[in-house]
């Protein structure tokens, strides 16, 4: 099993519902976030384009954060999820520095926190909260090893990209372009 998130940048309107849903679901402390929306404007008028991206931890296959962690608190879970075991984290900050996507933050309670793909919801058979609330349904979640899955089909039929492929992290969040 290989969990992946596929986000359609053509359908996203940048409403930030995913951000609010995540903060609510995961009790993210005020002022912090596990996901965010980027508006990337390119070009000179009249040839301009805008790309909207809901970004979060990429749950990389080759995670620098897991590699850098001195205590093993950052680790892989089934399905390729990258998670932090809170009581093993000493808050040294190595993983925060190692993430090219700046997806991690230092929780005021003394550990490093980030997106978990809502692992607790996956275990109940539900979708991650950001995916479940998206009003334009531009986000998809599923198993890349399952050829029948929507995420697999989308990546077969649409153009897509991953963020900063040159870092070699092999992200599991894909953007349809």
């Amino acid at each position: 099993m290989r969990y992946a998130m596929v986000i359609d940048t053509k359908k996203c309107v940048g409403c930030s519902d995913c951000v609010v849903a995540c903060q609510n679901e995961n009790r993210v402390p005020i002022g912090y976030c596990r996901d965010w929306v980027i508006e990337h404007a390119k070009g000179t008028f009249p040839n301009v384009s805008i790309e909207l991206r809901s970004e979060r931890c990429n749950h990389c296959e080759n995670s620098p954060c897991v590699r850098c962690c001195p205590t093993g608190a950052s680790h892989y879970e089934d399905g390729g999820l990258v998670k932090v075991t809170r009581h093993e984290c000493i808050g040294c900050g190595a993983c925060v520095q190692s993430c090219p996507y700046d997806a991690r933050y230092s929780h005021p309670d003394g550990f490093v926190d980030k997106c978990t793909f809502c692992h607790h919801r996956l275990q109940e058979g539900k979708l991650p909260s950001c995916v479940s609330v998206c009003p334009t349904e531009c986000m998809y979640f599923g198993d890349l090893d399952d050829k029948e899955s929507k995420v697999y089909q989308l990546l077969q039929n649409r153009n897509w990209k991953i963020l900063a492929p040159e870092v070699g992290t092999k992200p599991h969040v894909y953007y349809l372009i």
Binding site: V19, W36, T71, I90, G91, Q97, P100, Y105, G110
Partner: protein, 313 residues
Amino acid sequence: MDEEIIISGRMNPKIDPILAIWGWEIPLYLFLGGLAAGILFFAALYTILGREKELPTAVRKATFIVPAILVIGLFALFLDLKNKLYFWQLYTTIRLESPMSWGAWVLMLVTPLSIVWCVAYWRDLVPNWKFKVEWLEFIEKQVNKYRKPLAWVMIVSSVILGIYTGILLSAFNARPLWNTSILGPLFLVSGLSTGAAVIMWMSKDHLERTLFSKIDLILIGIEIFFIIHLFMGFLASNAAQIEAAQLFLGGAYTLPFWGGVVVLGLLVPAILEIMELRGKRIPVALPAFLILLGGMVFRFIMVDAGQLSKYLY
């Protein structure tokens, strides 16, 4: 035009607008770690070469400050942790891939080693001293018996400690400014140079001073070569590293780096030392202080600027 606007969510004081989770603690530790490594390296080196009698400051006197330096450095590292009471978890795991883990374990080896080294030379500092506890005398006897093998262990571990202060940073491929393999050797040489400066400063002996003055000159030369190499590497690399190098080539860190580190911390002390070797009277504290200051500023700049550099996507 290529513009990126953050719509929502990223209002993390610890991440945005720059990812600066590391404040003064880490660079201070990197400096102290390198300094301790430098002093221990020379103490071990001249013990192995059998020149303890000629070079009393390098082999004995200077090493007395190492445990204090390491303890301050360790305390700075401890302050950096966000979950301080869990620090011991560093020592319930060994993770070969993690530089942080290497660092924790190397310190666990080097700190006791430096204390033991000092215990064995304690009577030099305070003649006729009687250890109140028997096992300290036992340590003293054993160390004096196995001084050479101990020096070999110390020289290897001090090199690991010195290189590790650079590798801690260079292992992060997410920060283009740090992600260069030259950083390990550069930090090691800089650490050795600060160590030599302290020995030079503490020494009362003309011969020893001249020796370490010469050693320092060579180390400064190597450091300048590495710094040129560092920027050659950046400018011949990808867009992210070219952008990172711009921080030092016209960006916010240009003056602190080229003025504070390269000119005041390397070139000026080098000139002063050459003048002294040629017979001019220069107070030894001046070049030594400049080298130490330059070494410290270098760590602070590298840690700060590295956290500004990022991949572009």
